[in-house]
Each structure stands twice: as structure tokens, then as C-alpha cells.
């Protein structure tokens, strides 16, 4: 099982990730058509719930508890602080 091909490095030139190659980049399909007026957004903490523990205030990707689902989530999903608009991301991770 010491297959040398397994060590081939993947790298995505679209988003600088080492978890997938350029032709399998999630940004190919996870591209939202955004509304204007990004500066006025507020972070609705009371609407943030976790798909992993059911708790409030964080998204499932950012949960501190052991992952419950056995399907891996290596690349991150839509339910992550990273999927917030830039300004709110800063607020969320603070």
C-alpha cells in the first residue's frame, strides 16, 4: 500500500486550497449571485444554529464537538462562517 501516486500533491489555483485540484474546486458551483449593499449587513446571531450539536451561535462546520456524521467534510460546506459576507465574517470570528 505504499503507492507513490497517493503522494501526488493536489493544489487548486482558483482558491489556493491543497484539498482539491483546480477542476474540482467547489467555487465552480458554490458561486452566489450577490445582492448590492454589502456594507449595511448585520450579523443575526439569533438565527445561527449548528447542524452538528444543535447549539446556538455557531455554524455546524465551526462546531467544537466531535463530528456526528460519518461522511467527511474536508472542504467545508455552506454552513460555515466562511460563507458569510466579508464584513460579517470578521464579526462572527471575533
Amino acid at each position: 500500500s505504499q503507492c507513490p501516486h497517493k503522494w501526488k500533491r493536489v493544489y487548486c489555483t482558483l482558491c489556493n486550497s491543497k484539498k482539491h485540484s483546480r477542476n474540482r474546486c467547489p467555487s465552480i458551483w458554490r458561486s452566489y449571485f450577490l445582492l448590492e449593499g454589502d456594507s449595511k449587513r448585520v450579523l443575526p446571531m439569533h438565527k445561527i444554529f449548528c447542524y452538528n450539536c444543535g447549539g446556538k451561535g455557531h455554524f455546524g462546520d465551526d462546531c467544537d464537538f466531535r463530528r456526528s456524521s460519518r461522511v467527511p467534510n474536508d472542504d467545508g460546506s455552506a454552513f460555515s462562517g466562511d460563507n458569510l459576507p466579508k464584513k460579517l465574517k470578521v464579526e462572527y470570528y471575533r
Binding site: W29, F49, S77
Partner: protein
């Protein structure tokens, strides 16, 4: 050769007949437009809606003649316009005396409707937890289920109509998920699948909790493609069925730790879908959907098929994209031919 492959394509993905979205620069926009076409394609025409309403009012009048103190109401997917072509109509008869749910009444209604030539293929199922009569209305050939003396279906329909009003994209995604599950026979509660109300709760909670939606960053109808994939990712790969319950109310949805509501937990397995009854916090509305394993697997499969198709078509030339479908990778529809209404 070419025309033949084209023909199969058309019967499998009839919604792309008149619209070609393969030139969309963004793959996500292509899928969004295909979803809109699919929804327009399977939505009933005005003639179909009228035929259905006439059928129901004929039966309602007949019920009134038999039992003057009773009234027949439609609930379920027909009351919320979330039905697929060919689905049954769910009705309920409620009466002033409240005494119609018994063997005798079921049989007298069944034979009355037969005599009035309003029902064929009549089945009386009087011993079930929810006794019903099932029949086919001969003129329209619509299948109808009638239950008795119950209001919860009507109340649920009212809540769902409210959700539909304030949640753009809910209708579109529910119809996609419904058609996806029904093709895999995972949409019937009788066999452990997801019933209509559970499907709606999954989609509604997804939309109510999505980071881009709660932050007001996107318009759902312009992002149906990415949102559909995000949905299959959430409930096919990431959602903790063992530990988390879904809670819905008139104006919102949220998640709860199952540990706080042990009565929502399935006594046989922790791996189960729990949707809290808004009227009773200890009641799990989706406890009948015992086949969560296959449902989750199917959703994960839909995610893989859709994203693989996106990667494949993103790399393809415009010429190779022509006539191709993204949605067709997870949804086949071979229903009756409809006139494609271009609006």
C-alpha cells in the same frame, strides 16, 4: 444516431425542450434556470387546476346531500400547491356532530358516492390508525383519499401557506426534492420515506438557517442552483441525525439538541429524523420516516451527481455543453406530456 440520442434526451429531461442554458457563463446560473424550467414544466396548467376544483366541488356537494352537517376540505399538497402531477388529493370531512369517523359512516359514504357515479375503485380502510376511504373520481380520473373528523392537516396547510408566502425558493426546492425522492420511492411514510410535510420542514429549515440568506446577502430565486446543491450537502453529508432535532414554528425554523428533548428520540435507534411538533414539544412529526439511512444516502448521492456534473460541464466546450442537462443527472421525469408555456 444524433437524432436518436436527442430524442431520448428530450423524453428524459422534457423541461429543457424549449430552453437551452448551456451558454451560461456560471454553471450555478445554468442549474438555477433549469430548476425554474423544471418547476414551470411540472406545475399544473389552468385547465388542470379547474378540473381539480370542479371535481372537489362535485364531491363536496354530494357529501352535503348525504350529511347536511358535514363539510369536505382539501389539505396536504393540494392545499399548498406543492403537488406533483398525478398525486392523490387528500381531503377531510368534518361535521358538526363530529361523529363520522366510524365503520358505518365510511361504508355509507362509499356506497353513496358509488351510486352518485362519483367514485370507482373504492376502498374502505376502516381499521387503520387514520381510517380513510380511497377512490378514483371517474370523470377526471383523479385519485382521492378522504379521512374524517381531523383538523391537524388543515392547520398544517395554513402554516405552510404562510411559509410559502415569506420564503422565496421554498416552493421550487420542495418540488425538486419531492420529485427526486418520489423517483426513488422514498417519499411515502408508509414505507419509512419522507412525507410531504417532513420534506417541507427540511427545506424550510435549510432556507431559514443558510448563512447567505440570514445575512441578507442573496436573493433565493436567483441562486436556486447553488442552494439546491447546498441542501443536498447539508442533509446528505453533514446534518447530525443522531444528535439534532429540527424545530419549526409559524415564522422560523431552528435546530435543537435532541438531548434536551429525549421524547423526540426514536427508542430503537438514535440515527433518526426528528422534527418537533410545533403544538407539542415532545411529539416527533417525522417518527414514521424510519428509513433515514437511505434518504441520507440518496441526498448525498444527489450532491455527488450534481457537483460532478458541474465539474464536467465547466470543463467542457460550449459545443459539448449543447443540449446537456445538469438537473437531469438527478431528476428524470417521464410524466404525461404537457404544453410548455413560455411566459
Amino acid at each position: 444516431e444524433d437524432t436518436r440520442s436527442r430524442k431520448t434526451l428530450n423524453t428524459d429531461y422534457p423541461w429543457i425542450l424549449n430552453h437551452d442554458h448551456s451558454k451560461q457563463r456560471e454553471i450555478a446560473d445554468w442549474l438555477t434556470l433549469e430548476i425554474k424550467d423544471f418547476v414551470a414544466y411540472i406545475s399544473p396548467s389552468r385547465e388542470e387546476i379547474e378540473a381539480r376544483n370542479q371535481t372537489i366541488s362535485k364531491i363536496r356537494n354530494a357529501v352535503k346531500r348525504l350529511w347536511p352537517d358535514a363539510d369536505l376540505h382539501v389539505f396536504g399538497s393540494f392545499a399548498t400547491d406543492l403537488y406533483l402531477p398525478g398525486s392523490d388529493i387528500d381531503c377531510v370531512i368534518n361535521s358538526g356532530a363530529g361523529d363520522k369517523e366510524n365503520r358505518n359512516s365510511l361504508y355509507s359514504l362509499a356506497s353513496f358516492l358509488k351510486r352518485q357515479k362519483l367514485a370507482t375503485q373504492v376502498e374502505v380502510i376502516s381499521k387503520a390508525r387514520v381510517p380513510i376511504i380511497k377512490f378514483v373520481e371517474p370523470e377526471s380520473q383523479i385519485h382521492i383519499d378522504v379521512s374524517f373528523e381531523r383538523t391537524n392537516g388543515l392547520e398544517a396547510a395554513k402554516v405552510i401557506r404562510g411559509w410559502l408566502e415569506h420564503t422565496p425558493g421554498l416552493r421550487e426546492l420542495v418540488l425538486i426534492v419531492k420529485q427526486f425522492l418520489s423517483a426513488r420511492r422514498l417519499n411515502s411514510v408508509h414505507t419509512g420515506g419522507l412525507g410531504g410535510f417532513s420534506i417541507i420542514c427540511l427545506v424550510y429549515s435549510f432556507l431559514q438557517l443558510h448563512p447567505r440568506i440570514i445575512s441578507g446577502d442573496i436573493n433565493c430565486l436567483e441562486n436556486l442552483g447553488t442552494l439546491a446543491i447546498d441542501f443536498f450537502e447539508l442533509y446528505g453529508k453533514n446534518f447530525a441525525y443522531d444528535d439534532v432535532a429540527i424545530s419549526v414554528s409559524e415564522h422560523q425554523a431552528s435546530y435543537l439538541p435532541k438531548s434536551e428533548y429525549p421524547n423526540l428520540q426514536n427508542p430503537r435507534t438514535t440515527f433518526s429524523l426528528a422534527i418537533q411538533d410545533p403544538g407539542d414539544p415532545d411529539n416527533n412529526i417525522s417518527r414514521g420516516s424510519f428509513n433515514v439511512r437511505d434518504i441520507k444516502k440518496a441526498f448525498a448521492g444527489a450532491f455527488d451527481l450534481l457537483t460532478n456534473r458541474c465539474f464536467e460541464l465547466d470543463a467542457a466546450t460550449f459545443k459539448d455543453r449543447l443540449g446537456k442537462s445538469i438537473l437531469g443527472n438527478v431528476i428524470k421525469y417521464r410524466g404525461k406530456q404537457r404544453d410548455f408555456k413560455d411566459e
